[in-house]
C-alpha cells in the first residue's frame, strides 16, 4: 500500500461513514453537517484524480452555497428531533429494500461495463480536470450541451423569481 492508496481508503471510508451518519442522525442540522463532510471527502477524491478545479468548485457550489441554503431553511423552520415526524417502521423497511435494489443494479451495471473493466484510474496525472483544459473542452467540443444547461439554470432562476414574487392583487385587497 502506498501513500495514495492510504489516502484513498481513508477518504472513502470517511465518505461512507459520513453518508451513513447523514441518514442515522436524528437532528436535521446534524444531517446537513455530515453531508458537508461527505462533500469534503469527495473533493479529496477529485484532488487525488488531479481534478483540482472540480474539487474546488464542488466545495464552493455544494458545500459553500447549496448546503448553506439547506442549513438556512432548517434553522429558520427550527426543525429538530421533536418536530420531525417519525416514519412508520414498515415504510422505513420498504425504503431500505428499494434502496438496496437500486444499489444492486448499479453495482451489477459497473461490473458488466466492458469499457471500464480492468482499467485503472489516472491518479495524480491526466490534466482533463485542470481549469484550462476543462474550459477548452467545454467551449469547443461540448459547447451546445453547455449552453443548453445554462438555459436550464436560467429557466430555474426565472421560475424561482415567479414563485417568490408577491401577488400584487392579493396585497391590494
Amino acid at each position: 500500500m502506498n501513500l495514495i492508496q492510504i489516502i484513498f481508503w481513508f477518504l472513502s471510508s470517511f465518505a461512507v461513514i459520513s453518508a451513513i451518519m447523514v441518514l442515522v442522525s436524528k437532528s436535521p442540522v446534524h444531517s446537513v453537517l455530515w453531508l458537508i463532510a461527505v462533500f469534503f471527502a469527495i473533493s479529496g477524491h477529485y484532488i487525488l484524480l488531479n481534478a483540482q478545479f472540480l474539487a474546488i468548485v464542488n466545495l464552493i457550489v455544494y458545500a459553500g452555497a447549496i448546503m448553506v441554503l439547506f442549513l438556512f431553511v432548517i434553522m429558520m423552520m427550527n426543525l429538530n428531533k421533536d418536530t420531525d415526524p417519525q416514519k412508520n417502521i414498515w415504510i422505513k423497511l420498504a425504503g431500505a429494500v428499494s434502496g438496496g435494489c437500486l444499489l444492486m443494479v448499479l453495482v451489477s451495471l459497473v461490473k458488466q461495463a466492458t469499457e471500464i473493466n480492468g482499467k485503472e484510474a489516472m491518479l495524480g496525472k491526466g490534466d482533463i480536470g485542470l481549469i484550462g483544459t476543462l474550459g477548452k473542452v467545454l467551449f469547443t467540443d461540448f459547447v451546445v450541451p453547455f449552453e443548453i444547461s445554462s438555459v436550464l439554470f436560467l429557466s430555474a432562476m426565472v421560475g424561482a423569481v415567479v414563485i417568490g414574487k408577491k401577488d400584487s392583487k392579493l396585497e391590494n385587497n
Binding site: V29, A63, G64, A65, L69, F72, M75, L130
Partner: protein
Amino acid sequence: MTLLSFDWPLLLEKFVLIAIIVFTTLGIALYTTFGERKVAAILQDRPGPNRAGPFGILQPLADGVKMFTKEEIIPTHANKWLFILGPGLAMVAALMTCAVIPWGGTVHIFNRDVVLQVTDINIGILYIFAVVSMGIYGIMIGGWASNNKFSLISSLRAASQAISYELAMGLSLIALIFVTGNLSLGEMVKQQQTHWWNIVYQPLGFLIFFICAMAECNRTPFDLPEAENELNFGYHQEYSSMKLGFYLFAEYINMIMSSAVMASLYFGGYDIPFVDDNLLYNSSGIWHTLAPFCQVGTLLLKIVFFIFVFMWIRWTIPRFRYDQLMNLGWKTLIPLALINMVITGSLIILKINHWHF
C-alpha cells in the same frame, strides 16, 4: 520504505513557513485590535488606551489575559459540540486563506531556494472563495448552537449577507481574470511586476471587490450580524471567554487576509513600487540578500494601509439598514459588476483583433 519517501526537507520547509505565517498573522491581528482602538480614539478626538505600558502598547496582551481568564459558560440547552465547533471553524477558515497568498519572492537559505508562498495552486482565487464560504459555517453553527433566537436570527443575517455579496465579488473578479488570463495569485503578482498594477485596468472592479470584502468581513457599515441595537449582541451573544475571543479575532484575521488578497490582486502584491525587483535580485551584495525581505515589508505596508482604510470607514460611516444592504448588493453591485465584465471582455476581444471591429 516507499511509504516514507517524501521530500522531507520540502515538508519541513513548508511546515516552518506555515508556522511563521500563522504566528505573524496572529501577532498582527493582536495589534490590529489595538490599532483599531487607537484609530477610533483619534477619529473621535480622545486619547484611547494609554495605561498598559508606554502609549498603551501592552493593551492587547492585557485584553488577551482578560479573555483567557474569564469564566467559560455553555448555555444549558445548547449543543455542546457544535457550540465549541463554531468559533473553531471561524478561526480555521480565517487562517486557511494565507496558504495561497504570495508573501514575497524567493529566499536563498541553507542552500535551498525557499518560495515565500505556501502553495501556488493554479486555482488560487477559487481556493480563497471556497475558504470564505466555509467561514459562514462558523457563524451559522455558532448562532444555531447557542439556542438563542437573537443569535439564530443574526447568524442567518450573516449568512444571507455573505452569500449575496459573494456573487458580486465573484463577478468583479471574473473581469480581473479576463485581464490576467490565469487564476494563480503568484502568477498575477509576477505579471504586475513587469506591467502596470491591475488597479489601472480594473478600477471599478476593485471598488466592487473592496465593498464586498468589507461585507464579507462583517465590518461597519456592513456589520448587520452584530447590530446590537436590534439583536442584543449578535451571533456571539451566548459566547464568553476565549470562544468569544476567537470570533472577534477571526474578524480581524479576515480583515488582514482580505487586505492581503486585495493588495495581491490589484496593487501588485509584494512588488516594490518604482523599483525593478528583478534588478534588486540580480544585484550583488547586501541588496541581493535583503530583496525578499523588502518585498515582504512592502506587502505588509500595503496590508496595513488597507486595514487603516477599513478602520477609517468603520468609524466614519453609520450602519446600513437591512433592506439598504440587500438593495446595494443585488440591485447596484451585481449589475455594476456585470457591466464591468461586459466592457472588459469586449475591450479584450477588440485588443486581440488589433482594434478593428
